[in-house]
Amino acid sequence: MNILAQKKSRWLEGGIHGFLFFCAFLSILTTVTIVVSLVWESIPFFFEVAPLDFLLGTTWQPLIVPREYGVLPLVVGTLQIVVGSALVAIPIGVCCAIYLSEYASPRMRKIVKPTLEVLAGIPTIVYGYFALTAITPVLKSIYSGTETYNAASASIVVGIMILPMIASLCDDALRAVPGSLRQGAMALGATRFEALTRVIFPAALSGITASFVLAFSRAVGETMAVSIAAGATPSMSFLPTESIQTMTAFIVQVSMGDTPRGTPEYHAIFAVGMLLFLITLGINMVAHRVLRKYREVYE
């Protein structure tokens, strides 16, 4: 009998295929469900409040009469945290990554990298109380007008939180630059610093940028630390010494309170959640594009 005609039934192969497909499908299903529930729950909100009033209004006062649903103060608060934390985390994170990838001895790396990872593993609520009990007093001693709950303290602590992410991803990007480029630069009489700033850093730039964008999206979504350190006062003032409220902090505030289900303020958290989702989605799409470009930089 022809050996090729003896087709064996490979039921296990098929079973594995099906199981793996199910796992992949599950993650898509989860995402779709989240989006659907966000949209579904925020539709009633937009019957009460015009979308433009929501997006462009400058007063956010959903819990006290007269209720106002202008989301801009929350967006401004979030922006303050993102910009403030970036100012803290980007310079330190990049320098840390440069040190790790270019200057640190293997022994030093073995100490610094795990320490950074520990920093990344601390629960965010711990960071929140660290800000409140350690950073805020320092800020108060520098400028006595600082409020107990303030944007600066929250920004600094979020900066510390995203620092390991930036340092680690930048380190990866720098180390991904082929050693042959480094050697080529050195063989042309470059100093270590010249090779770094004029060949290696530019070659790693898209990976470095991508790490910033991922860190931004983490800062946008940060909730616990910001709720604790920055207070709950929606504000358009841009003053880092004053209390603010971010989008996520508002969601926490309402969901921990006793807002009755079905009221506009209840639906408001879904509207804010959806806006937040769109913002992080936008940032992640940008990051994805940058990352794709990054893969093409050196073959």
């Binding site: 050697q183 063989a187 042309l188 009489g189 470059a190 004029r198 530019p202 070659a203 050196y298």
Partner: protein, 274 residues
Amino acid sequence: MTQMKIQPNKFNQGSEPEKEAPDPRQDSALSAEHVTIRYGNTVAVDDVGLAFAANQITAIIGPSGCGKSTFLRAFNRMNDFIPSASLEGAIRFQGIDIYDPAVDPVEVRLRIGMVFQKPNPFPKTIYKNVAWGPQINGFKGDLDELVENSLRSAAIWDEVKDRLHKSALGLSGGQQQRLCIARTLAMQSEVILMDEPCSALDPLSTGRVEDLMLELKQNHTFVIVTHNMQQASRASDYTAFMEAGKLVEFDHTEKMFQNPSNQRTEDYVSGRFG
């Protein structure tokens, strides 16, 4: 070629080496004396003494792992970047020991250039690849002219003159390697070390690189490490044969390939091992 000095020629205060009747043992651009190189406790190069004649091409051949690349890299201090590597002995460039603590390794690499096994152009434009070295070393002069001359010398000008400001990564492997040679030429280094420069190239590109060396040796001293014995016999004036970290034989290329004194050399060049 335009005469210009990128850096004050601080090694070159003595008399110019004579150009006639080169005998590597006397008239050398670069020499190694009792050089031993270790990686940790492993000896990679074992007490090698060798001198490279000025304006000549010297090939270093030997089986894989014989230490020839490690030895070559010692001449522009590229082994400095391997933390476990250590060197004993002296390497003299125009009379000065380049491992003397008073010598700046960056200065050494300005004077002794290197072309690597795998073409490694920077992810920049063709123009910037050539201009990069002179620029960071404070070149003042006509950069466009320097770039053009270097690309012409490396026999790649005609192929790239219309795309100078396009990425160097769009070039073929052979073109990239000639670009890397142009980049080294732009530094006006006296000595150019080549670490198996053709191992990633097709025979046609290999031939072009060899022709290039023969043309450029008027102004430069070449040391080339190669796996390819035909290449050594075609393109070099002197050949050194290394095995297991030791120098086995060193002589005129013709003699090395036709009438070597050492039995191991004869076995190797005739393809009996390696």
